[in-house]
Amino acid sequence: MNLPVNVLTLDRIEVRARLDGMPPEQAEQMVTRCDTLVRTQMRPAYVFRESAVHITDDECDFGFCRVHSRGLASALAGAERAVFFAVTLGIGVDRLLTRLAAASELERYVCDAIASAYAEAAANAAQERLPYATGVRFSPGYGDFPLSFQSTLLPYADAAKQAGITLTDEYLMIPTKSISAVMRIQDDHT
């Protein structure tokens, strides 16, 4: 499902923090210019799908698969249902970053920081649209939750077809500005 670009606002403070040392006026101009570059290339999209879950102290059983992770088990503790979700800014941003790398490393650096901030904003916006999702976003690769779980999470949510999110051999997401996670569904809702 598409996420309108205009619901995403840039956390300029977060981005400016990464431009420490640049003269303020110049940093401001730079962020404004790069913000436009990134925004025109973004096509945010998200997918999600619910699953039943049964949790023991270090294992989550989703019925069709199990994962051994204390971290995830405690994030989902007590839940009977969970939601798998993924969000992306789209491949246009990767293209932009590659093109900039050929011309100006500074612009690439700033755009990269801006895109990362937007990915976070997109994840927050997508999360608000998930019915009854609650608690923390727990992503493969956090703590003891294996990164390889991406190869279960993304197909289950139909992320390739619906949002164009694919995986590399090493379980990294392409487009690179993508976030995937598992969240709990509020207990009083089934």
């Binding site: 789209g90 490393e105 500074l106 690439r108 289950y156 390739a160 077809k161 051999d169």
Partner: protein, 784 residues
Amino acid sequence: MTILERVKTRRLYFDGGTGSLLQKQGLPAGMAPEERSISHPAEITALHAAYLEAGADIIKTNTFGINPLKYENYTDYLHAAFACAKRAVEQAGHGYVALDVGPLGRMLEPFGDLPFERAVEAFSAVVREGAKEQPDLILIETMNDSYETKAALLAAKEQSDLPVFVTNAYDAGGTLMTGADPLAMIAMLEGLGADAIGINCSVGPAGMLPLVRTYAHYASVPIIVNPNAGLPSVRDGRTVYDVAPQAFADTMAEIARAGGCILGGCCGTTPEYIARLRERTEQIPYVYPKPKTHTLVSSYTHAVCFDGDPVLIGERINPTGKKLVKQALEQRDYSYILQEGLRQADVAGVQMLDCNAGVPGIDEAEVLSQVIARLQTVTDLPLQIDSTLPAAIERSARIYNGKPLINSVNGSQQSMNAVLPIVKKYGGAVIALTMDEDGIPESADGRFAIARRIVERAAEYGIDRKNIIADPLAMTISAGQQSARIALETVERITAELGIATTMGVSNISFGLPARDPINAAFFTLALGKGLSSAIVNPFSEPLMQAYRAYRALTAYDRECMDYIAALDEGERPPVPEKGQTLSLADAIERGMSDAAEQSAHAMLQNCQPLELINREVVPALNRVGEAFEQKRAFLPQLLMSADAASRAFAVIREHMPPTEGDGDRVVLATVKGDIHDIGKNIVKALLENFGFSVIDLGRDVPPERVVEAARGCSLVGLSALMTTTVPAMEKTIHLLHAAYPGIQVVVGGAVLTQEYADSIGADYYSKDAMETVRIAQKIFGKG
């Protein structure tokens, strides 16, 4: 009757959704629909049968997600799916079976990690095995990336003689996920020989109507339209679609009238949708598409049409007479080539780039295909593959993402025999030089006759005349003053009598003369007046660009003269150096002021040697910024600002430097296999280049073997890794390097690394940041 014969006579109907229907019927979570062909064949057969009964002419095998990258036993699934489909057809007594081929679920290089040829192999495996079942056609569907679509279609064509239908999934904005618009896809797919093309999935029928109109306007083959039952939403944990069967059929009736030839459904549609669709549209008069005559070439986002509004093709990526381009190609310094491409792409009006890598003694096929592939990562302009070597043309045309323009074929038997089959197979357009075994005719009659001969010969290969662009050949008037007249007359006759597009390398006309620009510009205007449809030009020649803009204003291609006026505004604002406060180059770099650095470099080169300028201004300034960074008085953004300013100055200085000999202080950089994070490596690269090192950047996700190959003769290799999972690949690369070249030094860096970690995997140096890598390089090469 074969399906291609049938579709000439009447509208045909596809079935509807499979996966969504199975899910509705209770497909267990985590199970893919295609796995049902083995576990529940009766259910799949019944689903096919229901569609055939509802009026579908064509059913898709339940093989959407089947490929060797996902399933080791993909052949079992394929044959099981065919058994279901064939049983249903047998029971119904009618129906065509389409081998259904969906996306691989992986992103191709350069943005993903799947090489193009591996994608072709994966699709080839599916087509080879599927073809054994003798389906009536192959359907490549739901493709949301133009490059993957090309891989699939190429595989289908190489591995079978079956009819191939192709449908793409466009989003609400009317482009594929990776950016291609309908015209780009039409150009590429028809070029590659698809028998029917169209649209599926993504949006509901109403959203597809405008796309169908575009297809109908440009496509010469039948148009397929298989929409979803509207947009999906989730209700009570189930996906539902918002367009009901009758409303679906009503909109499909409009689509039928707009030119839809083969209609069906995708996600969310059921046999009821297909029944209503057929009932509603069967009586609408059927028109088989007429052949279209647009000359198109395309990139992975858009197409360029040679339809009268002149097309400018930038000529600068060509070693002939350009020592820096020649040197860059010899040394495989692709970053210089990319910058040359980007500079041209920035000039308003340039719509394509010519790419020529013809330097004697290099592996031209390898280098040209690299230039093409890398340019496609930074610009979406369509490219012209320029070579006299068929092997170089073929390799580049194969990996090109889009419909290429091949430059060139000529009227000799040898050239036509070698080049035309490549044009046909890879679906390109081709520039036809009006010369042959006997040279260049000295009359318009002679040149016209050759153009006609090439058009006729191309037709024998199945290449339509719309894909031939004739070059009447501008020869210098300094060697024969009639040559301009002959070229102009040839343009006129080809345009009027053959009705095909034309192009010329305009500036050849003045070769050998002083002050060439006025002659070139006047000749260009004359040629445009005779109907010249495109030209290969130097976009930095202002008189030529003025002639082009004036012509477009005079012929009303430039509406309201907007482009003409916009260009004047640009011209009136030359970069004005600030009075009284001209900065030295060193100051400009230290303060990170790019424009000032460029201006200052220009100014200082008047009284200073290029090398002196680098040693006296650039390097000391960078050193001061570097020191400030090391002492934490400056931060990474400042370092990058200075690096940017230094790069701008370098671009100016480089024009004044003699080509360097040999390898110089070469450093090989790579992000290791499995890792796609390259920002750190790129920063290191920018700084090393600024400090005067020549960098061979291998990019990201680089296999150890490629690093070893590239490091031959180098003293220093830099490797980067961000993730713990890829450190083993780094370790392997280091071992191979040390084994291959004793004494070679390897420096490593990246988020997960520490000095200890670096020691444990055998690295010679650990660098905590880009500046430290510069210091290490200076130490190894005895500088600084």
